[in-house]
């Protein structure tokens, strides 16, 4: 009861000086985020938080603590999404300590209350940081999925010829996706030639070659012939020095060469009339 009443006194002082503390707090936060949020915006956010903090401190409102955490969760998530750094986000919470300290510094009797208050703010800061980290991880996972989807288009080049331009690092997850998409397209379009273009694959090592061979084999089982194109000079050197064997798979320097090869295989001819 003793502790509660003392916390109550500090809460009363903080309520009385709300304007002054919130102004100082906003000042500190705006300086911390270097102009990425406007002063008015920051002030509005902080006013809401501040009233929740004082309500939670007075202890009269049991729901206030939960609401405060929820508000911080929301704030932290939006900061994470908008590209604020972790310290910019958490500093926004810790700055309240500085702002309140300036208010009670002269009153020695309030020091124990201030320490309790500081502990509470530390807890809230940690909570904010945890939410921030979780939100960032979520963003990274979403982006990985989006990248996987974006990076594997299957294009119909000609009647009976499809192409898969591979861009980026070819790992087993990508290979699986490419393989599924390629095979589904082969069945859906009835194409019997597929060009795997590796112009956008930065390096070809034994693992990447293994993935390519798997894809070609699977396509062969469906009755489609694969041509690997887009082999750059450095890549060719790596392939040879690593001793990778492409066996009887046709390889071409450019997508154009591969298309010409596939056209001649299907008995079609393109040229000046």
């Amino acid at each position: 009861m003793d502790v509660d009443s003392r916390q109550g006194r500090m809460a009363a002082i903080m309520r009385d000086h709300q304007d002054k503390v919130v102004s100082r707090w906003s000042e500190l936060v705006v300086a911390g985020v270097r102009g990425r949020s406007s002063a008015v915006e920051v002030r509005r956010e902080l006013e809401d938080l501040y009233s929740l903090v004082t309500r939670a401190m007075s202890g009269a409102d049991p729901q206030a603590a939960g609401e405060l955490r929820a508000a911080l969760t929301e704030l932290s998530r939006s900061r994470a999404r908008n590209g604020f750094t972790p310290s910019e986000t958490v500093l926004g919470v810790f700055a309240l300590k500085d702002a309140v300290y300036e208010l009670v510094a002269d009153d020695a009797e309030l020091i124990p209350e201030f320490l309790a208050f500081a502990r509470m703010i530390d807890d809230l800061g940690l909570h904010t940081f945890e939410i921030y980290a979780a939100a960032r991880e979520r963003i990274i996972a979403d982006q990985a999925v989006a990248m996987l989807e974006l990076s594997t288009p299957v294009i119909r080049l000609w009647d009976g010829i499809i192409a898969v331009p591979l861009v980026g690092i070819l790992d087993s997850a990508r290979t699986q996706l490419v393989m599924e998409k390629l095979l589904d397209t082969l069945v859906a379009t009835g194409a019997d030639h597929a060009v795997l273009d590796i112009t956008g694959v930065p390096t070809v090592d034994t693992e990447v070659a293994q993935h390519l061979l798997k894809t070609v084999n699977a396509a062969r089982l469906l009755g489609a012939e694969c041509i690997v194109s887009g082999i750059r000079p450095q890549v060719a050197q790596t392939i040879v020095s690593l001793g990778i064997e492409f066996g009887d798979i046709a390889t071409k320097a450019t997508l154009a060469d591969a298309l010409a090869h596939a056209l001649s295989r299907t008995g079609q001819k393109v040229g000046p009339a």
Binding site: L183, K214, L221, G223
Partner: protein, 117 residues
């Protein structure tokens, strides 16, 4: 045990597998096909696996063996209508069905055989 029927159309034997493949029925098919090849002197075999959803390493190996047996009778085997999921499974199992030709569908498989002769 279910049996897979073998149809002869001109000089081609046509096998459409419409059942869930058991080890015994595949072995029976292999025997029946060898008998039929010897009896008819067919020059090509088309095996349609459009309806097959699950394969294992044994069935993969038996398909390769059917190809090898047919070649002994101077007949070429074309596997048609493989599903993408089946192709991925066979690749993951490390089976590339050497000696068996493949085509997307029965029509293309027939073209492949006729183009040869």
């Amino acid at each position: 045990m279910e049996r897979v029927p073998i149809l002869k159309i001109s000089s081609t034997l046509f096998v459409s597998i419409q059942i869930d493949l058991q080890d015994e029925s595949v072995m029976r098919l292999q025997e029946d096909l060898a008998d039929e090849l010897a009896a008819t002197g067919a020059r090509g075999v088309i095996i349609d696996i459009t309806a097959v959803e699950i394969v294992d390493s044994f069935i993969g190996r038996m398909l390769t063996m059917i190809g090898s047996i047919s070649r002994l009778f101077d007949a070429e085997t074309v596997l048609v209508g493989m599903r993408p999921a089946v192709a991925i499974t066979l690749t993951e199992l490390g089976l590339s069905l050497r000696g068996v030709r493949t085509a997307l569908n029965a029509e293309k498989g027939l073209e492949l055989l006729n183009g040869k002769s």
